[in-house]
C-alpha cells in the first residue's frame, strides 16, 4: 500500500509497541449508512494480552471479524494498512490473513455439526502436513487444551461434547494454524461461571506456551482485571481510552471508562445501589455530533458538542480521547 506511509498517521497510542506482531491503522467498518467501527488504530505486541472492552453494539466483534476478513455480507471495511509480523498484508475480505486465528463466542454453533471435532482441528493444521502426522498433531492439540482421552475425543461430534469442551476444541482449532495473534470474541460469555474461569486459564496458558498475542473482546471488566496487560475501551466504534490495566483501574481518565468501573460492585465501597451511566448507547444512525459520549457525560464542555476528540497522548498514563479527562 504505497499511499499509506506511516508518517501520515498519528503516532500510535501509548505505550508504544516497539515491534508489533499486529498493527492496523485507521480501520473502519461500514454497516448500512453508518460506521460501526470508525478509524480504529490497534497494535499488539507478541505475548501481550490486550482487552477490547465496551457495551454491546460498540463494534468490538466487528473489529475482530474485519481483521479476520470474515465480515458478514453487507458490511464493508477499509483500513490504511494491516501489518502482521512486520509484513504488510494486502487486505481483502474473504481472505483471512496468515498468523491470525479467531475464537468465537458460541463455540458449539461455530463447529460443524456433522464433522468430527478431530477432523475440524486437523483441517486447520498447515496444509503441507502428511495425513498421519495431522491426526497425531490434532490429538496432541486436544490434549494440550486439557481434554482427556484425546484419541477418543478425536472422533466425537460437537453435540456429544459440552459447551466448555467445545470451546476447548475451538481453542485447539485456533492453535492448529500456529497463530501469532489470537482473536477471542467473548469466548466465555456463553459458558457457566466455573467453566469461564477454566477457559480463561487455558487461554492464558496457551498464550504463554505459544507466545502469541491475545486480543480479548469482552464487556466484563472483572475478566479484564484478571487477564489484561493493556486495555482499549471502545465506545460507538472508536477507542476512547487505552492504558495498561493497572493504570486504567487505578486512574481512569475518560468519563466513560470511569462510569464502567464505577458500575462494578466493590467490597471496599458499601453502596445500596450500583452507579450506572445515564442514557444508552445511541444507534449508529443517531450518533450526536462532536463527542459521541457527550449526551451521557457529566463532564461535557461546550467544545464537546462541536468537535470530536481523537485518541491522543503518549506516556505512561495511556491515551484518552476526551477534552476534559480526569
Amino acid at each position: 500500500m504505497p499511499d499509506a506511509a506511516p508518517a501520515a498517521f498519528p503516532a500510535p497510542a501509548a505505550p508504544a509497541v516497539v515491534s508489533p506482531v499486529l498493527a492496523v491503522r485507521d480501520l473502519s467498518v461500514a454497516v448500512g449508512e453508518g460506521l460501526a467501527v470508525d478509524g480504529l488504530d490497534l497494535s499488539l505486541a507478541a505475548g501481550e494480552t490486550h482487552c477490547l472492552v465496551g457495551e454491546s453494539g460498540c463494534g468490538k466483534s466487528l473489529t475482530c471479524l474485519a481483521l479476520m476478513g470474515l465480515l458478514p455480507a453487507g458490511a464493508r471495511c477499509r483500513s490504511a494498512g494491516l501489518t502482521i509480523d512486520g509484513r504488510d498484508w494486502a487486505y481483502r475480505q474473504g481472505r483471512p490473513p496468515p498468523g491470525l486465528a479467531m475464537i468465537y463466542q458460541d463455540a458449539t454453533a461455530s463447529l460443524d455439526p456433522v464433522m468430527t471435532v478431530g477432523r475440524q482441528i486437523a483441517e486447520a493444521l498447515p496444509p503441507d502436513l502428511p495425513a498421519r502426522a495431522r491426526r497425531r498433531e490434532a490429538e496432541a492439540l486436544i490434549a494440550q487444551v486439557g481434554l482427556s482421552n484425546p484419541r477418543a475425543r478425536f472422533g466425537a461430534y460437537p453435540h456429544e461434547l459440552s459447551g466448555g469442551m467445545n470451546q476447548r476444541i475451538a481453542i485447539a482449532m485456533a492453535l492448529a494454524g500456529r497463530p501469532r495473534v489470537l482473536l477471542a470474541d467473548e469466548p466465555t460469555t456463553a459458558l457457566d461461571v466455573t467453566v469461564q474461569a477454566q477457559i480463561l486459564d487455558l487461554l492464558l496458558a496457551v498464550q504463554n506456551s505459544t507466545g502469541a498475542a491475545l486480543l480479548f473482546v469482552t464487556h466484563d471488566l472483572g475478566v479484564v482485571a484478571q487477564i489484561a496487560d493493556r486495555v482499549s475501551v471502545m465506545y460507538c466504534g472508536s477507542i476512547v481510552e487505552r492504558a495498561p490495566v493497572a493504570t486504567l483501574f487505578a486512574a481512569p481518565r475518560h468519563p466513560y471508562t470511569r462510569g464502567l468501573i464505577d458500575s462494578l460492585p466493590q467490597i471496599s465501597r458499601p453502596a445500596a445501589r450500583l452507579a450506572s451511566i445515564p442514557g444508552r448507547v445511541p444507534a449508529i444512525g443517531a450518533r450526536p455530533p462532536g463527542c459521541r459520549f457527550r449526551p451521557r457525560c457529566d463532564r461535557a464542555l461546550a467544545r464537546c458538542g462541536r468537535e470530536a476528540p481523537v485518541l491522543d497522548g503518549t506516556g505512561p498514563r495511556g491515551a484518552v480521547a476526551c477534552f476534559n479527562p480526569t
Partner: protein, 311 residues
C-alpha cells in the same frame, strides 16, 4: 437400532397393505370388469361362466380374504387378459421404468445440485436470477406438453430422435428430458434454499477462518450440512416420479409400469392393476425408508436418536 428398523418395516408393510386394499375395493366397486373385457354382445351365460371362473360371483369380503391369502402365498393373481402371472408381467415392465427413472434421477442431480449451489453462492447476481428463472420455467412447464414439444422438434422437424419406443439410448433421451426437467428445477430451487441457509451458519465462517479455500469449505462443510434436507426431498421425489412416469411413458410409448397401469385400468385387468399399485407403494415406502437410513449416515445427531430407540 434393530428395533427401530423392525418398527419401520412393520409400518411400511401396513402402508403397502392399505394401498392394496384400497385398489382392490375401488376396482371392484367402480364397474363390472367383465363388461370391459368381453365383447359387448356376449351372451349372458358366457358372462356368468367367466364370473364364476374368476371368482367374481362371490361376496366382496370373501374375494378380499381369498386375495389376501393368495398374497401371503406370494400369488399375485393372473391377468384377466392373457392369463399370465401378474407379478411376472409387472416385473418385466419394471426394468424399463427403472431405466427411465434412474436416468431422470441422475440427470436431475447432475443439473439441479450444481445449478442450485451456483445460484446460492451468487445470490442476487445475474447468474442467480438466470438459474432461478430457468428453474421456475422448468417447474411450471407441464411435462406432457414439454414432451409433445420435444417430439415436434427432434422427431418431426429435425428427425434426430425416435418419437417413441424403447431399446436404444436414443429412445431414452426425450422421455428423460421430459421427466427430468421438472425434477431438476425443483431440486435446484431446493438446493439453493438449503445451501443459502447453511452459508449463513457460524461454522461456515469458522471454516473460512481456517483459510481452507472456498472449494474445500463448500465440499467439506456446506454440502454435507445442506444435504440433510435435500435427501428428504429426493426421497419424496423418487416416490412421486414412479407415479409421474405414467403420463410420460404414454406420450413416448415407453413400455414401463406406468404404461402398463393405464392399459390395465382401461381393461379392468384387476390382478395387474393391484400388483402395479402394490409395486408403486413398495417403492415409495422403501424410498422413505432409505431416506431415514441416509439421515443417520449423514447426520450424527440422528444416529444418536436411533441409538436411543434401540436402548
Amino acid at each position: 437400532m434393530l428395533r427401530f428398523l423392525l418398527v419401520r418395516l412393520l409400518r411400511a408393510l401396513l402402508t403397502v397393505l392399505g394401498c392394496a386394499t384400497l385398489a382392490f375395493f375401488v376396482l371392484r366397486l367402480s364397474g363390472d370388469p367383465l363388461v370391459a373385457l368381453l365383447p359387448t354382445d356376449s351372451p349372458a351365460e358366457l358372462l356368468e361362466r367367466y364370473r364364476v371362473l374368476w371368482g367374481l360371483d362371490r361376496p366382496l369380503p370373501e374375494q378380499y380374504l381369498r386375495y389376501l391369502l393368495a398374497l401371503a402365498r406370494g400369488d399375485f393373481g393372473r391377468s384377466l387378459v392373457d392369463g399370465r402371472d401378474a407379478l411376472g408381467l409387472v416385473i418385466e415392465r419394471a426394468g424399463a421404468t427403472l431405466q427411465l427413472g434412474g436416468t431422470v434421477f441422475a440427470l436431475a442431480i447432475l443439473i439441479g445440485v450444481p445449478a442450485g449451489t451456483v445460484a446460492a453462492l451468487r445470490r442476487g447476481r445475474p447468474s442467480d436470477y438466470l438459474t432461478m428463472s430457468a428453474a421456475i420455467f422448468g417447474y411450471a412447464m407441464p411435462n406432457f406438453f414439454l414432451g409433445l414439444l420435444l417430439i415436434l422438434l427432434f422427431a418431426m422437424q429435425l428427425r434426430l430422435l425416435p418419437s417413441s419406443g424403447y431399446g436404444t439410448p436414443a429412445h431414452l433421451v426425450m422421455p428423460a428430458i421430459t421427466l427430468g426437467t421438472a425434477v431438476a428445477a425443483k431440486l435446484a430451487r431446493f438446493v439453493r434454499t438449503s445451501v443459502l441457509d447453511v452459508l449463513g451458519q457460524p461454522y461456515v465462517r469458522t471454516a473460512h477462518g481456517k483459510r481452507l479455500g472456498s472449494l474445500a469449505v463448500i465440499v467439506r462443510h456446506v454440502f454435507p450440512n445442506a444435504a440433510i434436507p435435500v435427501i428428504t426431498f429426493l426421497g419424496f421425489e423418487l416416490g412421486l416420479m414412479i407415479g409421474g412416469a405414467v403420463v410420460t411413458e404414454n406420450v413416448f410409448g415407453w413400455p414401463g409400469i406406468g404404461q402398463l397401469l393405464v392399459v390395465s385400468v382401461a381393461r379392468r385387468d384387476l390382478a395387474v392393476v393391484q400388483t402395479v399399485v402394490m409395486v408403486i407403494a413398495v417403492s415409495v415406502v422403501s424410498a422413505n425408508l432409505a431416506v431415514d437410513l441416509a439421515y443417520g449416515w449423514i447426520d450424527p445427531r440422528v444416529r444418536v436418536a436411533g441409538g436411543r430407540h434401540a436402548g
